[in-house]
Symmetry: C2
Subunit: 340 residues, 2 copies
Amino acid sequence: MKTVRLALLGYGNAGRAFGRMLERKKADIRRLYDAEVVITALVTGSRGSLFQPEGLDVAAAEADLAKNGRFTDDSGMDAMAVIQSGAYDVLVELTPISIRDGQPAITHIETALNLGKDVITANKGPIAWAWRRLTDLAAAKGCKFYYETTVMDGTPVFNLASETLRLCTITEVDGILNATTNYILGELEKGVSFEDAVKTGREKGFVEADPSMDIDGWDAAAKLTALMNVLMNAGLTPNDIDRTGIRDVTAAEVQAARARGMAVKLVCRGWLENGVPKGKVAPAEVPMDDAMATITGAASIVGLTTDLAGKISVIEYEHKPEIDQTAYGILSDLARILAG
Amino acid sequence: MKTVRLALLGYGNAGRAFGRMLERKKADIRRLYDAEVVITALVTGSRGSLFQPEGLDVAAAEADLAKNGRFTDDSGMDAMAVIQSGAYDVLVELTPISIRDGQPAITHIETALNLGKDVITANKGPIAWAWRRLTDLAAAKGCKFYYETTVMDGTPVFNLASETLRLCTITEVDGILNATTNYILGELEKGVSFEDAVKTGREKGFVEADPSMDIDGWDAAAKLTALMNVLMNAGLTPNDIDRTGIRDVTAAEVQAARARGMAVKLVCRGWLENGVPKGKVAPAEVPMDDAMATITGAASIVGLTTDLAGKISVIEYEHKPEIDQTAYGILSDLARILAG
């Protein structure tokens, strides 16, 4: 039985859900992959960090955090110190990042790959801003670099393309990728005003305190860029996306569209124009008999147009707790590494 | 560079589309898998067979068939003789079969596996009738046994579950899996009578000369059984499915449902009842805001409910020529074998 050591950078809701899921599937991991997974480091932003090269007691760490609000055995090591220690086989990068430049996650990932470590990230930033550089580095170092959860959580998109659409060329992607705008547009359709939709969305947890990254289409643009970089080798950044948010959409417009048999959605689309990749995020009317029109709330959809298999779409449905879907994306990447 | 030899049993539309696709992706296969794929046997039902252990000239064989209506260099070998020759690495089983017992495909597959050969089949029969036995045999012999194209053609379902939903348990499957009934129900919705829908469907190629296997739900039941056997380890046969066809559905019923915001579809569903797998195929009303309601004509959908990733659906859209989607399922299985 091999031992595989993980260092977790970021230990918020996703990190903790991942830790619980890992514990729950421990026996399956032993049986299927002949592997024992241990966590050697947990790094938080403001609650300290734990570092134990022989493996941590995660349950005890959880209890400590719950009781004391921070790690009482704080190692004093920050993210970079843990990365540079090399005391792990797989870096799990879950730090909060700026969607506007993908840092500090990009530097974290680059440093770990340079040390010959495999990397899993839940951060879309590095895939949107530096995918090609990081992928080339991983290849040069013989390391795995996976990021399934960055778009549609654990619903397979990237792993689907690489593991099940072999020999296909993907010529177009489309989708609905942002829950906040999806929620707000749904409220507008009911006749709720934009302001009220944002307000109730905040109460329900659909809308963040500062919703501008979602409402102005930045989050969707970052996800579209990630899809296009990985699936179409586009070499874009979110700045290259033709981006219009939903700030100017009114309840009256959405209701009028609905009366015509159309649903207004924040649609993402990436395609080739004379061989040049183009990406667009904008509100658009979708016919009610298109699967996209059925995507509401926290559900999402990605469509892939291929040269050999026609068009395929994948839908992620709303699920409680949603964080488990994020955690599963990380776990599925880990399982892919363990499967070798 | 390794040489991988294929024997094709059945050389109808799917076999020929596969041959063309293989030729088209030859350079990619060399580059990605360091493999040269050659076809050593082509077996037809009534137009003879070709057998050439060093590899056939497929273009010449095609031209021969087109010109002479049969292979002029007929080897005189039937399917079993080719299988027993062992002059191949991968058996590609595409013979026409009876959906009622999966023969002769099951015997073909069993014989090849016993010889230590990898097998790809496009026949749903063996997966519906003998999946567990064939899978156990393949495992015992260290052989690969893949069948992606049997449900939803090349759209990944089986490979998706095994390659991208690792560590998940699938607790429920649902879907719309039969194009003929989907087409007829669509015509009923327009007010066309059942008899006229069957008649025009025949002209358009949506309905077979004898449509009873489709209309009575046998094809859908076989596909549901295949899904449940592979994804839920159900150990069922199509006889175990609670099956109702669409023979008694009228245009008036479908139109009345539509007026209530519902679409009538031939819905397949498999679930666990106190741990026991249950399968049902029957016409059912689906709300218009369910992705299932958007599935028309030759499109299809499969939904997978999982313990870790929530519910995921995959849609296959109508594509011309449809046969390419079937061929791609075979090619994707071959690529999976080549990837090792």
